[in-house]
């Protein structure tokens, strides 16, 4: 019935369009120019409905063409790629190109290369801001399970510069400072030792493990690391900085994955366990007997990967990247986010 109604309307409107030119004129009249509200909303509703029906028609036509092609055994028409903010990104000359010699040389020379070349094992000091309660410690507890060889030190009233000196002497390779505001972690500071750089991230959307439904509990194996979408020079640098927090030889039997996924300059953190299962597919009950022999052969070889999230879950956004270790007063910045950079939604820096 409903479908019939729609059809009627569509045919009516189509007939109307064909019928006289005045109606077309009215349809083209912008509803925002009409002063009477009742009339305006009516016209607007009509416009909206027409658009919707037009869209539906197009979708149906596309589907029909596809089906026809399948029946005839031809190549189906190519699927259109939706236009997103990411794939219409402004062209950026800082995006790294593969086989760029200078990039390789710069990477070899940077501060993280010692850790990434397995010369030193990473050793992380985790501390907090001076006032720390509720969600902060809970978050740190979970962070300790994520990052191997992490050591928590109470902040006390020590200055961060003193802590940096202390950590240098104790041969730590990085410091992670979790900053909380109103009992909610809101910033993350990662300092690479002994001579920088220092990255300051905004932290948001923190979900702790116990708040994730059907969460798993991670083991103490060294995790695998996935870094997605770090493309520019700055992105590479941030990516390498994050990489240097984790040991470089993952223990694959642990089946733990830590993901840092960059999308539109937001870095999403996820922590999963995965499992490969050879699972039997549910067969159709009707012709079970006929296919039973074949399906057995199929299912034996089929392997399904399943994921289970074991928290925490949070989002980072880079605020500044400082040259050298933490120095709030006399610091020199490699990258600072400034307001005049935000003139386009399609410009990304990582």
């Amino acid at each position: 019935m409903v479908a019939g109604k729609r059809k009627d309307r569509a045919s009516e409107s189509a007939a109307g369009d064909r019928g006289d030119g005045e109606e077309i004129k009215k349809a083209k009249l912008l509803p925002s120019l009409i002063r009477n509200k009742e009339k305006r909303s009516k016209v607007y509703a009509n416009l909206k409905r027409d658009k919707k029906s037009e869209k539906r028609k197009q979708a149906k036509a596309r589907e029909a063409a596809e089906n026809r092609a399948l029946e005839l055994g031809e190549e189906p028409p190519p699927k259109k790629i939706p236009r997103t903010i990411e794939n219409t990104r402004e062209p950026d000359e800082t995006v790294c190109k593969p086989n760029d010699e200078e990039l390789v040389a710069a990477n070899d020379a940077d501060e993280f290369s010692k850790i990434l070349k397995l010369e030193i094992p990473p050793k992380i000091l985790i501390t907090t801001c001076r006032f720390n309660s509720t969600r902060g410690p809970a978050f740190i507890q979970e962070l300790m399970t994520v990052i191997p060889n992490a050591h928590y030190y109470k902040r006390g009233t020590h200055e961060l510069k003193k802590i940096v000196e202390y950590a240098k002497n104790k041969e730590f390779t990085s410091i992670v400072v979790v900053h909380t505001n109103r009992r909610e972690p809101d910033a993350l500071l990662i300092i690479n030792l002994p001579d920088g750089p220092t990255a300051h991230f905004k932290l948001s959307n923190l979900v702790l493990r116990k708040d994730i439904k059907h969460h798993g509990n991670p083991t103490s194996h060294k995790p695998e690391l996935v870094l997605n979408n770090f493309t520019t020079r700055l992105g590479y640098r941030i990516g390498r900085m994050i990489q240097s927090l984790f040991p470089q030889e993952p223990f694959f039997r642990g089946r733990r994955v830590v993901t840092f996924h960059n999308q539109r300059d937001f870095i999403f953190f996820r922590h999963h366990r995965y499992i490969f299962e050879s699972k039997e597919k549910k067969d159709d009950s009707k012709d079970k007997k006929a296919q039973s022999a074949q399906s057995k052969i199929n299912t034996e070889g089929r392997v399904i990967a399943r994921l289970q999230e074991c928290g925490p879950r949070f989002t980072l956004k880079l605020v500044t990247l400082q040259h050298g270790t933490f120095d709030s007063k006399g610091g020199e910045f490699e990258w600072v986010h400034k307001a005049d950079m935000d003139t386009s939604r399609r410009r990304f820096f990582l």
């Binding site: 010699e101 020379a109 490699e334 600072v336 399609r346």
Partner: protein
């Protein structure tokens, strides 16, 4: 419809700039044509961190230009800025500096003498080298070709200690190359006479503020304000301050003001003798009028990393800046507009502009445009002069300042007044000089062509040959 293209920047006039970076590469950027986009033309050297460039000095001459480069591994090289050949090399540890090691005592200051001491018949170039621990050395270096010709030229060197404690960060040599300036963390600004190797002036800590708080000295940038006068110094500190010192007036700063909230990393003087360009650690670039301490304006253009070096074109109103965001940016110094930016991949440490570069292909256009620009600059400068010359305006402004400052600082104001009147005289002088200069330049353009022909014949003189 999404904007897929980047915003077009207006191109810049023919230009050649040399940048150095942390991987020890020297990159050449050139712009051709009337409004050209600058492009990376050449890269010299192989990437190597130990050869990271710490300081450079560029002798911008018509014939025989030189680029001196100090590297992290303790090598000071003299390069030919036309083709990148190393002409001479000195190890800093061979200079006879006491208690020196290249690891913890890197070179921070380097100056290549342009006029004075190189006028000798032997082809020596004189370098002033200063290390972080305050050891300075004035040394003449024979160029490779010359050493065989002129064996009698013995390299002379003279060492002295600028300071025993503290850490030198900035150094500068005035345009006549008689005086050198040093400053740094825990080191007050001090000026040295390069004839007698005596310290002739030291600055003094500014007075404590009303709360009794003073900040420890940390000078991060220093330069001489005008070309004619070595007595006025502009310095930037780690505490966001820009200070004007007048060594003929007093040891404390004459004018002092704050700029934003990040350390001043570089201060560069303009040709007119009262404007300075200031770059900070968060990538802010601004110009100031040092006579009043007023901000003239900021250079806005998505500059996201610390500015390490600024270079001013000696003729055109152009400014080049570079820094940790690995962009070389060319600005119009009058309108403060970004003309173009070039991405050079590494953290850049220094930039120099080669002013004797004219693009070959569209000669007429380029020179015309340069002439236009010069005329523009002249008229603008003339306008300014007219403004300055009206004595009423000046008196009024000075009185206003007096009222603001009160009796306490009257002495300072008087000193400033004196310096301002001097400025006026100097302006007259400079205007005369400039007129002469422009005349000279026009005749020079003709001469240059002749010179080229002559230079082609002489093999011994280095040729200025640019690709295409």
């Amino acid at each position: 419809m999404p904007r897929i293209t980047t915003v077009e920047t207006p191109g810049c006039p023919p230009l050649r700039a040399l940048t150095t970076d942390v991987l020890g590469l020297v990159k050449v950027v050139e712009a051709h044509g009337k409004v050209g986009t600058p492009k990376l033309v050449e890269t010299w050297g192989s990437p190597d961190v130990s050869r990271s460039v710490l300081a450079t000095s560029f002798a911008d001459r018509q014939t025989n230009p030189l680029l001196a480069v100090a590297r992290r591994n303790g090598v000071v090289e003299l390069l030919n800025p036309l083709n990148g050949d190393a002409l001479a090399k000195v190890m800093v540890c061979e200079l006879g500096l006491s208690n020196h090691s290249t690891e913890d005592d890197p070179v921070v200051g380097l100056h290549l003498f342009r006029t004075k001491k190189t006028a000798l018949s032997s082809r020596l170039s004189v370098l002033l080298i200063c290390t972080e621990k305050g050891k300075a050395c004035l040394r003449s270096i024979p160029l490779k070709e010359a050493s065989s010709l002129d064996a009698s030229a013995v390299p002379t060197s003279r060492n002295w200690d600028v300071s025993t404690a503290g850490k030198v960060i900035c150094s500068s040599v005035d345009s006549e190359e008689n005086y050198a300036l040093f400053g740094g963390r825990g080191i007050e600004l001090n000026m040295w006479d390069l004839e007698s190797y005596n310290r002739i002036w030291t600055s003094k800590l500014p007075r404590v503020n009303s709360l009794g708080i003073f900040s420890p000295t940390c000078f991060t940038a220093a330069t001489f304000l005008s070309r004619e006068d070595h007595r006025k110094i502009v310095a930037g500190t780690n505490n966001y301050q820009i200070r004007l010192y007048d060594i003929s007036a007093q040891r404390r700063p004459v004018v002092s003001f704050d700029f934003r909230e990040s350390p001043i990393k570089v201060v560069k003087e303009d040709l007119n003798g009262h404007t300075v360009y200031v770059g900070t650690g968060t990538g802010d670039l601004a110009s100031f009028d040092m006579r009043t301490g007023k901000l003239l304006g900021c250079f806005v253009g998505k500059c996201s990393g610390s500015i390490r070096s600024i270079a001013r074109h000696p003729e055109l109103p152009l400014l080049a800046s570079c820094g940790l965001d690995s962009y070389l940016r060319i600005w119009d110094s009058r309108t403060r507009q970004l003309l173009s930016a070039v991405f050079l991949k590494q953290h850049l440490t220094n930039v120099a502009i080669d002013s004797h570069f004219y693009s070959e292909a569209p000669v007429g256009d380029a020179t015309d445009q340069i002439r236009d620009l010069q005329d523009d600059e002249q008229t603008e400068a003339g306008g300014l002069r007219a403004m300055e010359k009206s004595p009423r305006g000046k008196k009024n402004s000075i009185e206003k300042i007096k009222k603001k400052m009160g009796n306490k600082t009257q002495m300072v104001v008087e000193a400033f007044e004196l310096s301002a009147s001097e400025d006026e005289d100097m302006d007259k002088q400079t205007s005369l000089k400039r007129k002469e200069l422009t005349k000279l330049k026009r005749s020079k353009n003709l001469k240059r062509k002749k010179r080229k022909i002559i230079a082609n014949n002489e093999d011994q003189i280095m040729l200025r040959c640019y690709p295409n």
